[in-house]
């Protein structure tokens, strides 16, 4: 099995700061007792802290490592599928049923992200009107994208240059829109 030096927030570090991860696999690492193993978790962009401050010790000698590159995308796709079945009234307050075409576009976008990079943390939600929204946290940005059934995507991005909001038309799920490529590649 090939391991790569990894820099994403989901990687596993030994006390010697060696990071390992595998592509698209689940695996188990047995660590000698005298070594410390820590796991770095992501934090919201606005409260981003240096890597060392995020480390958390694990006492177990054996860890099941979830391959972040595969599982996180599978998880968000599964969540989009789950939310896409929400009926009208799901919110208690007035709320529309999930709009299938909106969720289909959101899933295609997530698949495009999967092919683009592994460095993102992604989550999905449903809005009161039944559209899908995907939140993406990258190394230096936080993006929220709402997918409208007509192919419009409403995008909010926070990055060191400040907030950027724009609506893009005609997203058909075949490629990441040109205006977003620089963020997601």
């Amino acid at each position: 099995m090939n391991f790569a030096l990894a820099t994403s927030p989901e990687n596993i570090f030994t006390g010697n700061e060696i990071a390992v991860s595998s592509e698209r696999q689940h695996f188990v690492i047995e660590i000698p007792a005298k070594e410390q193993i820590v796991r770095v978790r992501s934090s919201p962009y606005k409260s981003y802290r240096p890597r060392c401050a995020l480390q958390k010790s694990y006492r177990s000698r054996i860890l099941t490592v979830e391959s972040s590159s595969t599982k996180k995308y599978d998880n968000v796709l599964a969540e989009l599928t789950r939310l896409s079945a929400y009926p009208a009234g799901w919110n208690g307050y007035p709320s529309s049923a999930a709009i299938g075409s909106s969720f289909d576009l959101a899933k295609r976008f997530v698949e495009l992200l999967r092919a683009s990079s592994n460095a993102f943390q992604i989550s999905a939600s449903i809005r009161a009107v039944g559209t899908a929204m995907v939140d993406i946290q990258g190394p230096n940005f936080l993006a929220s994208i709402e997918f409208l059934p007509n192919g419009e995507i409403a995008t909010n991005i926070d990055n060191p240059d400040g907030p950027q909001d724009f609506d893009l038309e005609n997203f058909d799920g075949t490629k990441i829109p040109d205006d977003l490529v620089s963020f997601f590649s």
């Binding site: 934090s43 007035p94 529309s96 709402e146 724009f166």
Partner: protein, 212 residues
């Protein structure tokens, strides 16, 4: 705009996802704010008030690193139906009980077939809501782009016959003839959700106990 017109605007607004759009179209730039909009409540929302909003579906909640935060979806109603709230320190326990009953009566079942419940609530400061701005770059012909900015939300005392201390928060989707984009509206909603703190509850009585 006179008070009668505002009552008419709100009473004729559809109870659908088009409600916010209708109110913005007929009372642009929050022009009915501070006016009586319901025959069941004579007191418009005032500065310094606190609003209570229940949280029902856990999709609005993110738990990470031991903390809990709300997603922007929680306040997304403000763009469509209006974000329904109750007025703290005014609404009675009976009003909050009726609110909870209506929410749970209208809510669909959970995926496991069990009824949903109110999992928490948020206290929203009127001052904080009113300090929020909605902003958008506006380009006119060959002139340099300028920023259009306005109050992001209007808050209205939409009293109901059995709950006179009901209120609604609506996005302000148009100012001085400029229609704000969906992304600009979403940012305002996201910022408001970010400012909101969830109070989790274990029993419905905790929610009802917020009443006077």
């Amino acid at each position: 705009m006179c008070q009668l017109n505002c009552i008419e605007v709100f009473s004729s607004a559809p109870d659908t996802a088009e409600r916010a759009r209708y109110i913005n179209e007929h009372a642009p730039d929050c022009s009915c704010e501070g006016q009586i909009v319901s025959p069941h409540c004579a007191d418009p929302i005032g500065p310094g008030e606190i609003l209570i909003r229940a949280v029902v579906d856990d999709t609005h909640i993110v738990r990470e690193d031991g903390s809990v935060r709300l997603r922007s979806s929680f306040m997304s109603d403000a763009v469509f139906f209006g974000a329904s709230c109750m007025r703290h320190c005014r609404a009675t326990k009976e009003e909050l009980r009726l609110t909870a009953e209506e929410i749970l009566r209208n809510a669909t079942l959970k995926e496991d077939g069990t009824p949903k419940t109110i999992i928490g609530y948020v206290l929203l400061s009127v001052n904080a809501i009113k300090s929020a701005r909605i902003t958008q770059a506006q380009k006119v012909s060959n002139q340099p782009a300028t920023q259009v900015s306005a109050d992001a939300f209007g808050i209205y005392a939409t009293g109901l016959i059995d709950r006179p201390n009901h209120s609604d928060i609506f996005i302000n989707d148009c100012s001085n003839g400029v229609k704000f984009t969906r992304s600009a509206q979403n940012r305002s909603v996201r910022d408001l959700s970010d400012k909101s703190s969830l109070v989790e509850i274990t029993a419905l009585s905790d929610f009802v106990a917020l009443g006077v």
